[in-house]
Homo-oligomer: 118 residues x 2
């Protein structure tokens, strides 16, 4: 009469490409939701502005922006323009980013905006 557990619970999966297309899609979908939720928490609790753009395994575009796509994108492009009230942020543009291909890139406190270019 031992009641079988209905599921095996969350499994630990290796940090490597998920081969099965269906599993990959499912995982992508769930994790994207989780990522958005985290991003939203960051917005609500820490008052940050954030933009996320990603492409599904099937190469469809998805994104999350706060406060608006334009504001985030404009600043990724033009550090000079003012962002939202909560973010007068310094400058940072694609050219200033450390392009550590495939690795986490961080722009640690960009001094200031040269107003033109560096």
């Amino acid at each position: 009469m031992d009641k079988e557990k209905k599921t095996a619970g969350r499994q630990s999966i290796p940090l490597e490409r998920i081969e099965g297309p269906e599993d990959r899609y499912t995982t992508f979908s769930k994790r994207r939701s989780g990522l958005y939720k985290k991003a939203n928490n960051l917005v609500e609790e820490c008052g940050v502005d954030i933009g996320i753009a990603l492409f599904s395994p099937a190469v469809n575009p998805f994104s999350f922006f706060h406060p608006t796509p334009n504001l985030i994108l404009d600043h990724v492009e033009n550090p000079n323009i003012e962002l939202s009230e909560s973010t007068k942020l310094a400058a940072y543009a694609r050219n200033n980013v450390n392009q550590t291909n495939n690795t986490i890139n961080e722009i640690v406190s960009q001094p200031e905006i040269p107003s033109s270019g560096s």
Copy 2:
């Protein structure tokens, strides 16, 4: 003689702005790391391309890109250009994004790219 619990365990924090500047910044740092890790998992396990740009409470810019900032940003700007091998992605630009201010925005399956068909 009841043994005090060593820690209060994970605390549940309300979905509202964290007032204490220090707590807020600490939380921001931790969660940013968590967000990057999740983004990286998405890259490794689902093989997707992704870009994240956020601005901290202290107004510093941070970002995570894969494969490179240029590739992601160029595509957010110019849907026509080809992205990485794994991402021939369809088109999507700021103008195509639903600007649901402060809310999750999703670009649901952009039709197609002028150049490549499906």
